[in-house]
Subunit: 129 residues, 2 copies
């Protein structure tokens, strides 16, 4: 989901597609991205090992297959490394607790604002009504 | 794949869709079918457990997923319990060594002939040229 904020409004931040990432920011971003992705993949690996070890009947087997397919699709969708998407990618990872703000140290305020704003959007969206 | 043999030819057997399975034959068929299917599923389960235990990196994980999807599709395709398909289903299982002729004891000669003929077709098809 992409939310655009009108650049003219006060306290707005640029639409994430318009953010310019410097070379050093890209380095920070790549490192944080890879760390979160590797950590999530390790979780899926550990979970797959546990599920496989616990298989007793064919339905458990197909449940594992379905689970892996779902996780692969989620991860493919979540970790899209394109500058125009990084704001919401990191916002999601922040929201899920997969990244902390300190992992993003070195990004400029325009990026942090976009990231925090997306995380905040997800937080309010997930709140019980 | 379905092969039809003209019923008029000498030494022919009826097109498998035309075979009539008696109640006792259906019982034999069901038992042989279930035994082969369960055995194949157990093999997939054991293999999945081994593959999962050996996962070291994400590519191994997705290989497991792909393997399970492939096996599920193969098994779905191979084990189709319909009277009109049982000749070739058992022919395949015979060819693969998943069933022996003694597992089919109780079937009448018209069925056995259809089954053997399909197994023989697969054997010659798989021969190196």
């Amino acid at each position: 989901m992409r939310i655009s904020f009108p650049p003219a409004a006060p306290d707005s931040y640029p639409w994430e597609g318009q953010l310019r990432w410097s070379k050093s920011e890209r380095k920070v971003a790549r490192k944080a991205f890879d760390r979160a992705l590797n950590q999530e993949l390790q979780e899926v690996i550990q979970q797959a090992k546990q599920m496989a070890a616990a298989i007793k009947q064919p339905s458990d087997l197909w449940e594992l297959e379905h689970h892996l397919t779902q996780r692969r699709k989620e991860i493919d969708h979540k970790y899209e490394y394109r500058a125009s998407r990084l704001g919401s990618v990191f916002g999601t990872l922040l929201h899920e607790g997969r990244l902390a703000e300190e992992d993003l140290r070195g990004l400029r305020e325009d990026k942090l604002k976009a990231i925090r704003s997306h995380a905040e959007f997800l937080r309010t969206r997930d709140e019980p009504i």
